[in-house]
């Protein structure tokens, strides 16, 4: 990603459109006062509302989040409950909507529909969790490096380079190998361990451009302290590229979790995960493709929704990249 260019364009957009620092105009409120110039966030929101892609992905994500939060609403079947006598690899009944046999049964005689529904939580949690940790750590380090420069920048940047140099999946596998029982939080931390570098880099470059803006100089001239300048002036104006990168990466983390679980290094039983189910399904795919297709389909749909949202947000925040 051309971080620096993006930071500059954002900054130009800021200079063009934003007279007062962006944060002082909450998003969405300026709709009625259409004669007033909109802030970056207002502009982005206006832009988003007019994109069908945004709405499709939002509805999808809303649905997925509801499933993740309340799987019981969608199925009453225990996803760990196998019935080999009656349901060993039963084929799907595609017309039995929301019934346990909708997607068929797997090689343990468990309802694939129930497993797909209950697996949602792990995937969403991992995606959102990793993104949250990565954004927090990455943005903080990037901001410090960008704002203070000098030796702070050197140390943080070299550290980022080192972590960036470690292959992401391979490194995560090595970390996860150290744990025998891998719960959701372990996988989140392992993925975040190597995932924060790109966020740190993006934030650093956009902070460097933001701190040179006139309003920062003005604030400093007015006697504002470092933390006030950093959090009230620099951060709100430099955070946009960070959010874009984070949103797009979210989908990637979900598929990374599935990849690791497929390899037997991600989440472990009794946690239910699409990756584990895909891995198990792949062994009987020759005669029973349904065991693989439904969890894989849900995974693709979720990743697709997050990446689509990320795309829409990027387009809205970064008009010049369109």
């Amino acid at each position: 990603m051309p971080d620096v260019t993006k930071a500059q364009t954002t900054d130009e957009a800021l200079l063009d459109a934003v007279a007062p620092p962006a944060v002082e105009v909450p998003a969405g409120q300026d709709e009625k006062k259409s004669d007033k110039p909109r802030s970056l966030w207002g502009d982005a929101w206006y832009d988003l509302r007019h994109r069908p892609m945004f709405w499709v992905s939002s509805v999808l994500l809303f649905l997925l989040i509801v499933i993740a939060a309340f799987p019981g609403l969608f199925t009453s079947v225990d996803p760990r409950d196998g019935d080999l006598v009656n349901h060993y690899l039963s084929k799907p009944e595609l017309t039995h909507f929301f019934q346990p046999d909708w997607f068929g049964y797997d090689q343990q005689g468990r309802s694939i529909y129930a497993r797909v529904v209950h697996g949602t939580r792990a995937s969403i949690l991992v995606g959102v969790g990793v993104t949250a940790v990565v954004t927090l750590v990455g943005a903080l380090l990037g901001m410090l490096a960008g704002y203070f420069g000098g030796w702070v920048d050197s140390v943080i940047s070299r550290l980022t380079d080192i972590f960036f140099g470690i292959p992401f999946l391979l490194g995560t596998m090595v970390v996860l190998n150290a744990f025998t029982e891998r719960k959701v939080y372990v996988v989140i931390l392992a993925l975040a361990f190597l995932g924060w570098t790109s966020i740190a880099r993006v934030t650093r470059s956009s902070v460097i451009t933001a701190k040179q803006a006139d309003y920062v100089t003005a604030a400093r001239a007015l006697g504002a302290g470092t933390s006030r300048i950093l959090f009230r002036h620099v951060m709100p104006n430099a955070i946009a590229p960070t959010i874009v990168v984070a949103t797009i990466a979210l989908g990637g983390y979900i598929s990374a979790e599935a990849t690791l679980s497929f390899l037997g290094l991600g989440l472990s039983d009794p946690t239910i995960s699409w990756g584990i189910d895909i891995s198990e399904g792949s062994k009987v795919i020759r005669d029973n493709p349904h065991t693989l297709l439904f969890p894989a389909g849900m995974l693709s749909l979720t990743v697709f929704a997050f990446i689509m949202l990320g795309d829409a947000v990027r387009d809205a925040l970064d008009p010049k990249l369109r």
Binding site: D81, G82, R110, G264, E280, S282
Partner: protein
């Protein structure tokens, strides 16, 4: 006929195979003419092999691949009738015990020769055993000689050996020698069928290492060449005097790295026999191969074993373990998840072994959810109401572990999850270091076809195979009494009594017996005969005339 593999834990019968091979064409299904045609006495059989771990020395193959080659090159003193496990003499004229089975006299058949033309004498055996037992020579299977008087002198726990000869071995004349044992073992003759007891020619002792690359034996085949990681060739030895003369011209052992590659080569007749059908082809191999599919039981058992040093099982009432056993629906799991590759176990002892009794464990291995629940309640329940089953994830164990857990959870409400270790080595390490958290997966292939091998060598307090911390004085006493019995029949009978004792005490939950799922090419005449250890009896394989 051919006998035992080493004392070793089986990693699993199913080879892990991730890639699903495309279903290649070719209408090579069901050949009715498998039994038609004439045998070619000089036809070459090609068979699958992985690279042997060690040089080809008789006591240096603890794994099945080296052992597979060694057993074609050597003929032991005795061998076993497949199916019944009855003893038959090969190189020995007779193997007879004294009154209390503590001293054995071995008489050899006269006139046998090694492949290099030197005679096979009593000295060839005694020298071979002395060399293999010696700690300096670092042979993986040297502990097999531990029964012989003087073993401690050549293989002390620490330090250098005092001598290079075991005092229990005495050459009487050219074809006779005696073996003195530290304690009576009524079935000692049965142990002699295993690879480690082979004789060695004088050429061996000049340069054992060089010999390991170019072995000279006394068996039905002589060694020709070894291209590492590629091919091992053995050819019929015309001077062979034993009962099991080769019915083919020789064997080419071809190296394969994946089960999928071997399977597609079998289907295109580029290899005549493979070890195991890949998992991905299990549902279809019978339709792919028709008559040529091999679906054969062998003497190995899989079980789950409670680690008795854990909090959960420290003071457990055996009734609880019986209950867990009855909560497993073996019948359904073997038919579905395991796709018919195993048969439900009904005994601690595998079939084809002396002393195996059908249904020996009675109702304890029958699925009965209500009774299982009742027994667990009577026994005071499982502490923590949760168990884990440790297994190695580098092989295909997860499906059946999950199925067993589901069965237990569903019928008794005891929570159960798998505990995967990344490799077989890590799995074994955890067992050896008493680090198993709850229960572990165990598998055992016979070493010699007597039921003691499945009980004393696994559940005896000091047995090498006992890694669960199980100890039962009554059982130990009964088994040493059984070893001292005057006849093998009596030994077997006493061990059958011991099995009933184990059924009450539950040192392990037997799950199922292994099967070979394999196939043969169209070049082979008739069905490939199998030994009790799940390997073909290569000298009896016939090749069709072209």
């Amino acid at each position: 006929m051919r006998g035992a593999r080493s004392a070793k834990w089986v990693a699993g019968a199913i080879v892990v195979a991730l890639a699903a091979t495309a279903c290649g064409g070719g209408d090579d299904t069901g050949s009715d003419d498998m039994n038609k045609g004439k045998a070619d006495p000089n036809g070459i059989v090609t068979a699958q092999l992985s690279e042997p771990q060690n040089p080809l020395q008789p006591a240096n193959a603890k794994e099945s691949q080296g052992s597979r080659v060694l057993r074609t090159i050597f003929a032991g003193l005795v061998d076993y009738e497949p199916g019944t496990g009855e003893l038959e003499y090969v190189n020995a004229e007779s193997v007879t015990p004294n009154d209390d089975s503590s001293e054995w006299t071995v008489k050899l058949k006269a006139g046998w020769k090694f492949h290099d033309g030197t005679p096979v004498t009593a000295q060839s055996y005694v020298d071979s055993w002395n060399w293999s037992a010696n700690i300096k020579n670092n042979q993986t299977n040297s502990s097999w000689f531990a029964d012989i008087v003087g073993y401690e002198d050549v293989h002390p726990e620490k330090g250098d050996p005092k001598t290079d000869k075991m005092s229990g071995l005495k050459v009487v004349d050219e074809t006779t020698f005696t073996v003195k044992l530290t304690q009576p073992v009524s079935y000692f003759a049965y142990k002699l069928g295993y690879d480690v007891w082979a004789p060695l020619p004088e050429a061996f002792f000049k340069d054992p290492e060089k010999y390991g690359e170019n072995p000279i034996g006394n068996g039905p085949y002589k060694f020709v060449s070894w291209e590492h990681n590629k091919l091992i060739k053995v050819r019929k030895f015309d001077g062979y005097k034993g009962p099991n003369k080769a019915k083919n011209g020789g064997i080419d052992f071809k190296n394969y790295t994946t089960a999928d590659a071997a399977y597609s080569d079998l289907r295109s007749n580029n290899v005549d026999w493979i070890e195991q059908v890949p998992t991905t082809a299990l549902t279809n191999y019978k339709t792919d191969l028709g008559d040529r599919a091999i679906d054969q039981e062998y003497s190995a058992v899989q079980s789950i074993v409670p680690a008795f040093y854990t909090k959960t099982f420290k003071d457990i009432d055996p009734k609880v373990i019986q209950g867990l056993s009855m909560a497993i629906d073996r019948e359904t799991i073997t038919k579905t998840v395991l796709q018919g590759t195993r048969t439900p176990a009904d005994s601690y002892v595998a079939p084809g072994v002396l002393g195996y009794k059908k249904g020996a464990l009675g109702d304890i291995v029958k699925f009965d959810a209500a009774q299982a629940k009742k027994l667990i309640q009577e026994g005071g329940g499982v502490p923590g109401n949760k168990i884990q089953i440790q297994y190695n994830a580098d092989q295909d164990h997860k499906p059946w572990v999950d199925a067993v857990c589901n069965s237990i959870r569903k019928s008794t409400g005891v929570d159960c999850v798998g505990d995967p270790k990344p490799t077989f080595q890590a799995d074994l390490d955890a067992r050896d270091n008493d680090e198993v958290k709850s229960m572990y997966r165990g598998g055992w292939v016979l070493d010699y076809p007597v039921n003691s091998n499945f009980m004393r060598d696994l559940y005896g307090t000091t047995a090498a195979g006992n890694t669960s911390g199980y100890s039962n004085k009554e059982f130990d006493e009964l088994s040493s009494e059984a070893d001292k019995a005057s006849s093998i029949d009596e030994t077997v009978k006493l061990y059958q009594e011991a099995e009933q004792l184990l059924a009450k005490d539950m040192p392990a939950i037997p799950l199922w017996f292994y099967k070979v799922n394999s196939g043969q090419s169209t070049n082979i005449l008739g069905k490939i005969p199998y030994g009790q250890d799940g390997d073909p009896i290569f000298d009896q394989v016939q090749v069709k005339q072209k």
